[in-house]
Amino acid sequence: MRYYVKKIVSLIMVLFLIMLLTFLAFQVIPGDGAVSRLGVDAEPEEIEALREALGLNKSLPERFFRFLGGAVRGDFGMSYQYSRPVSELLAARLPATVGLAAVSILMICIISVPLGLLCARREGGFADRAVTLLTQTLMAVPAFFLGMIITFLFGVVLKWFSPGGYIPPGESFGKYLHYMIFPAAAISIPKIAMTVKFLKTSVLRERKLDYVRTARSKGNTERAVLWRHVLRNALIPVITFMGMVIADVLAGSIVIEQVFNLPGVGRLLVVAIGNRDYPVVEAIVVYIAAIVLTVNFIVDILYQRVDPRVRIK
């Protein structure tokens, strides 16, 4: 219990630090929110009035605590560009990004574990060599290029989906999922390739250890040895790796959203940076940081569950 408290306290501290750094970074960048919103030709009085309204003329600490206080409530202020609350913009974009990430992660977990085990079991055999060749190739292909191939193959040639389309989950959840599968495949295939390779190496390393010999000497079949004894041990390093992959996927696949024309957080970020829409950028940076930290926290807890040796009483 104490361990969890400690972890949560440090998580909050890190998040605070990230918010501080984000806030300061945007103070250092030249360019004023009011100017960028009204244009350089605006009257000085007008700009001053807007600065007043946006709170830009307050002192630095005061502005930071306002930013912090807002962020805690989920209020990141108004977007310069759209004149709408940032939180509203984010909320509109989250279903695409989170859904994409969720489908990708599901695909990674479901496909890579059995494939990794298969390769380890038939090491050097036909299945292993075929999968290894495939994973080596797919690992090297950038996700956006895969996305283009998938769009061409399944969208243009086979017409399984119409490229550039997106249906919000509120409209039809089934169709929403249908449209998510293809971009999710583009994201997950290179990650699956990496996970398979990682898991295979891990299983092969575990299989050489003494406890596996003990398990065999007890009368376990090869399959039972693998599933009951080896898998859980082999997953320990894979969990760390998967944590990194999941954080990466959740943090937004900017390029893939672009390729598939999905209205996600990634695309919002690209547009916001281009327009110096700092409240939006700030909010997305904090969102990404929070996601990465939370996933790391979950990975730490999972670690405790899987490996009793790191369990702290």
Partner: protein, 532 residues
């Protein structure tokens, strides 16, 4: 020689190896054969020892019996037969994997050398022992837990309810080996194969584990095959023994006969080296003279994570205020069980742990250390030459050529040729690696060398050579050794004085003869009694 010709009463044989050769596939093609024509029998309820050095094929022969070879290894010639009951003979060497699974654990079970790694680290003790019952579908579900608890108790473990939910890392080595034995004996197998079951354990625990094996053999009529490199271990448990060397059976017979009248040259050598009958290597009357090292009220600490939230790290004393001296040209032994602080003391003296208090006076600037495991202590990615010259490079001593010259000179002194300079550690045997480690320690020409179990990981005949080398070098260079060992025989043969450590303190010290003949402390007596 047919199987079991020398086998005493083997009419009631249980397991028979008949001309068994085991091979492993080589990288390109063909098999590399590691044992040739191994034949022996073990009788029902008999305790048979298999003796030999590493690579002699003793473990491989037994693993082959259960089809546990791995790496594609298999019986290429001969046959292994098992006779669980009169009139039922199982041809183990030609059974399928599925058929073997039914025999493993149920009829024949096995325990291994490393209790630290032989249990699954992520499964509870209870689940691992109970798995035996699950796999062989023995008895109703409700009674399983009870049976496991009873068995753990029989294996000499207390607090079994508590133990059931614990994980292996929470147990000591001795306890884990008891768990392994409980697991192996749960289904009352007809044969228990114990592969170096006590080698990794402290001497005081060794005897207890062997007694436990003996108890089960007598109580349940379980036959035991005890594999060991240690003749003392074999003698204390077995009535008959098989001596193996380089994949062949050299000699077999009753233990008393074998030990008193060995016929073969190899058996004689093994006996001489193993039973501490080797000559005393130390010289008499060296003690006295100037101090090479003096330690007064010396404590060594480890840092531990604090118990409270965000608490500072806490210091824990592992060595508690010890005082002793090492004189010029003297070999001082330190004995004690694992965890008593003997290695920690040596590491601190070598400057590898800065958390110390008390006084440490040294006659040389950098005492050098030789470690136990010659497989782990040499960086595998560097050549021997690189490793040997490293201390010189770090101290900016000599030119490239001079360094090479000194390294080659030192290689010759430890009995290796110049050509070893460009070789990598993985091409060397354990003994050769330990020679390199010793050469490395001598490169800086320091007067004090700290040896941490330098021969414990080596075969007995290699041990002998290394000990002789160490004594020779000591005389040649006028060195002082601080020699750590758990092996009382080695200490007796080598050391001028001995310090006995127990729980971080020196509980007894004195001239070796005196301590061995008239031990004062109870722990010292226990150590001496545990000698087999």
């Amino acid at each position: 020689m047919s199987a079991g010709e020398n086998g005493g009463k083997t009419a009631e044989w249980l397991l028979e190896l008949d001309g068994v050769s085991v091979g492993f596939p080589m990288r390109r093609r063909g098999m590399s054969v590691v044992t040739r024509g191994v034949s022996f029998r073990v009788g029902r309820g008999e305790a048979l020892g298999i003796v030999g050095e590493s690579g002699s094929g003793k473990s491989v022969s037994m693993l082959a019996s259960l089809g546990l070879l791995g790496n594609g290894g298999r019986v290429v010639e001969g046959s292994i037969r098992f006779r669980p009951e009169e009139g039922r003979i199982l041809e183990l060497s030609s059974m399928t994997e599925k058929e073997l699974c039914a025999v493993r654990g149920d009829e024949i079970s096995m325990i291994f050398q490393e209790p630290m790694t032989s249990l699954n680290p992520v499964m509870t003790i209870g689940a691992q022992v109970e798995e035996m019952l699950v796999l062989h579908d023995d008895g109703p579900k409700e009674t399983r837990r009870e049976r496991v608890l009873a068995m753990l108790g029989e294996a000499g473990l207390s607090g079994t309810e508590d133990l059931y939910g614990k994980y292996p890392h929470e147990l000591s080595g001795g306890m884990r080996q008891r768990v392994m034995i409980a697991m192996a004996m749960l289904l009352r197998p007809r044969l228990l194969i114990a592969d170096e079951p006590t080698t990794a354990l402290d001497v005081t625990i060794q005897a207890k584990i062997l007694a436990l094996l003996k108890k089960f053999q007598e109580e349940y009529g379980t036959a035991i095959i005890l594999i060991s490199h240690d003749l003392g271990v074999i003698r204390s448990v077995c009535s008959r023994a098989v001596v193996m060397c380089e994949g062949r059976v050299v000699e077999q017979g009753r233990v008393e006969e074998l030990f008193e009248h060995p016929q073969e040259e190899y058996t004689k050598r093994l006996l001489a080296a193993a039973l501490g009958k080797g000559s005393v290597l130390r010289r008499e009357g060296v003690t006295g003279g100037k101090n090479t090292a003096a330690v007064r009220n010396y404590s060594v600490f480890y840092e531990e994570r604090g118990k409270k939230l965000f608490a500072a790290r806490e210091k824990r004393a592992v060595v508690k205020g010890v005082s002793f001296e090492v004189h010029e040209g003297e070999i001082v032994g330190i004995v004690g069980e694992s965890g008593c602080g003997k290695s920690t003391l040596a590491k601190a003296m070598a400057g590898l742990n800065p958390l110390t208090s008390g006084e440490l006076e040294l006659a040389c600037s950098r005492p050098q250390m030789v470690f136990q495991d010659p497989y782990g202590s040499l960086n595998p990615s560097k050549t021997i030459g690189w490793l040997l010259t490293e201390p010189l490079r770090l101290g900016r001593i000599g030119t490239r050529e001079e360094r090479r010259g000194r390294a080659c000179e030192m290689l010759r002194r430890v009995g290796l040729e110049d050509s070893y300079y460009d070789r990598y550690p993985n091409t060397l045997s354990g003994g050769q690696r330990q020679r390199v480690a010793i050469a490395m320690a001598l490169m800086l020409r320091q007067k004090l060398i700290l040896l941490d179990e330098p021969v414990s990981a080596l075969d007995v005949t290699v041990q002998e050579q290394i000990l002789i080398l160490l004594v020779g070098l000591q005389k040649e260079f006028g060195l002082s050794y601080l020699f750590i060992s758990h092996d009382m025989n080695v200490i007796h043969r080598l050391c001028d004085r001995v310090l006995v450590m127990y729980q971080g303190e020196i509980v007894e010290s004195g001239r070796t003869e005196e301590v061995f003949e008239n031990p004062q402390h109870e722990y010292t007596r226990k150590l001496l009694e545990a000698r087999l």
